[in-house]
Symmetry: C2
Subunit: 334 residues, 2 copies
């Protein structure tokens, strides 16, 4: 039904081996034969069947990126970075989404087992350290944007702890002393790392850590609003709030404004990630930027290095953050 390498060989008057050699430049072919082959390919509209090729070569040159969702705009920059690095190394990136479901994630990972892809990068994961380590024994995998305690797997993230530290230090330098944090209670370690950065900054300036200033909920922006209400009901409410994600910051700000507070004046709010919304929001949201493009580029480069060297070395690479000042953080009033 379809044009195969045999048809091309026949039309060009050569053997299939020669066609393959022309196709892959894998050996020298006489100029004349090459021309015949190329003409035949054009004539017949031939496209090599990758299933046959990959089956024979035991590789697909495809790396799968597994996303929880495509909801967060900064994944896009990561993907761009991954594509750039992949392309440089002769790989293609395919994506899939799991909706943060463990079962879907493992179903997607089965593409490693059934040889549909050569390697996988997980942008966050529902898998346990044990599952990851098992997987890493037999397959090329990496995690980015999130780390898993005890998983000895190639991991690339922003420097969460120092990023948060910088964010909170910035609040302190604006004379804030009553600083609350909106974090999450899930098992995501990036939240925990960011919490540690928060505490590190407070400690450095001799500001006591107050339990009532710590809120732990979900990643739903609504929870930012809930946190805000809870903080403001305190006898001694904070003057600044550090949120471990921009969406939580947006939720916090939204609720603050609708409750009649003036952002920057009555209360300062800082986010983390630097999603597109930060710039677009009103007021602009001060935040810590993740070097998304670089994260993507780095994780693929390192993963390819592992593949090429035939090793499964696990290591954690932390990339630099960048503090971005906008309007949502201002000097404390007193």
């Amino acid at each position: 039904m379809n044009v195969t390498i045999k048809d091309v060989a026949k039309a060009a008057g050569v053997s299939v081996a020669t066609v393959s050699r022309v196709l892959n430049k894998s050996a020298t072919v006489s100029e004349y034969a090459a021309e015949q082959v190329n003409n035949a390919i054009k004539e017949l509209g031939y496209n090599p069947n990758f299933l046959g090729r990959n089956l024979r070569k035991c590789e697909t040159n495809v790396i799968l990126a597994i996303l929880p969702s495509t909801e967060h705009s900064f994944y896009n920059e990561i993907i761009k970075g991954m594509q750039t690095a992949a392309s440089d190394n002769g790989y293609d990136i395919l994506l899939c989404t799991t909706n943060s479901m463990h079962s879907t994630e493992t179903r997607m990972l089965s593409m490693l087992f059934n040889r549909t892809v050569d390697a996988a990068v997980m942008l966050g994961t529902q898998l346990s350290a044990e599952e990851l380590n098992d997987l890493n024994e037999k397959h090329y995998i990496a995690i980015c944007c999130e780390r898993v305690e005890g998983a000895n797997v190639l991991t690339v993230t922003v420097d969460d702890e120092n990023g948060a530290y910088a964010a909170v230090k910035n609040l302190i330098s604006q004379n804030h002393r009553k600083i609350a944090i909106v974090s999450t209670s899930g098992k995501a370690l990036s939240s925990k790392d960011r919490e540690r950065g928060y505490i590190m900054a407070l400690n450095e300036f001799g500001i006591p850590v107050r339990e009532e200033y710590i809120f732990r909920g979900t990643y739903d922006p609504e929870d930012g609003g809930k946190a805000f209400e809870q903080f403001m009901a305190l006898p001694d409410p904070p003057t600044a709030i550090f949120c471990i994600s921009d969406l939580l910051a947006a939720g916090t700000i939204k609720k603050a404004i609708s409750s009649g507070y003036k952002i920057g004046e009555d209360i300062s709010v800082c986010g983390f990630d630097n999603i597109q919304m930060c710039e677009l929001y009103n007021p602009g949201i001060t935040t810590v930027e993740q070097p998304a493009f670089d994260i993507g580029k780095t994780v693929i480069n390192e993963l390819v290095k592992n593949i090429k060297q035939n090793q499964k070395k696990g290591r954690h690479i932390k990339l630099n953050y960048r503090l971005i000042q906008r309007e949502s953080v201002q000097k404390a009033n007193k």
Copy 2:
């Protein structure tokens, strides 16, 4: 190196054919043999190689969704819809992004030629009608969220024209008569369709269409701000602005506020799409919702229908919008 069907057959003491039959339930196998096979599969940790299977079967059961980017959060809902429908039909969805580049898009489409995937859905496209029609001759493809004039290809979109009509009619019903539109000058027909809806509403209420009330730029939110400045510099500025996308609406609102205008009071702004930001923004953005999940579900169901019936029928399916009222649109002052 890897466990193959042969190893399983040997371990189970049956032929490879029997193993294949157990795997695919393609023919009756005695209970005992089946058990032996299943045990061997577990024992050896066997995973069928999809390259072998797909090569033989001439199908992969994978549909590729080609996205311009993952920047727009509502793609996520479309993808969910696609996954649901795909899963119901025994297909998997893989994604890739093109960064809106024609060359990248064609490179991704080559997965159709080289048999990596069975079909492709494009969420918007850079391809011309001619290219699409050519492609549609030999492959199963579909477009969603955007249509291409003259392309006789399966297309699923929201009802852009009537959605915009409803949005503008809503503005009119709030006593607005001076209504501007922020559209785009590219070749995207959804913009043109939405413009038509805008004009349709104005016409219905006998409101003259004023050229100076029509701005055409890019999809960059910044252009919403530019449009706003241009409109407000007019001798008779509008009291309401309909933007053909939420991001443009956000850009418009952002600039309006920073210029000292009160949204809802001095100027009303309406968007289109209902991205996550609309709810989160301050003020909440009134908009026209695209039935994202349904779009995704529908396009896959129709595409699979084409595949199963071995036809490449092109048709345009328009799904219903929903007007969502938030704070950015209020009654005109006078």
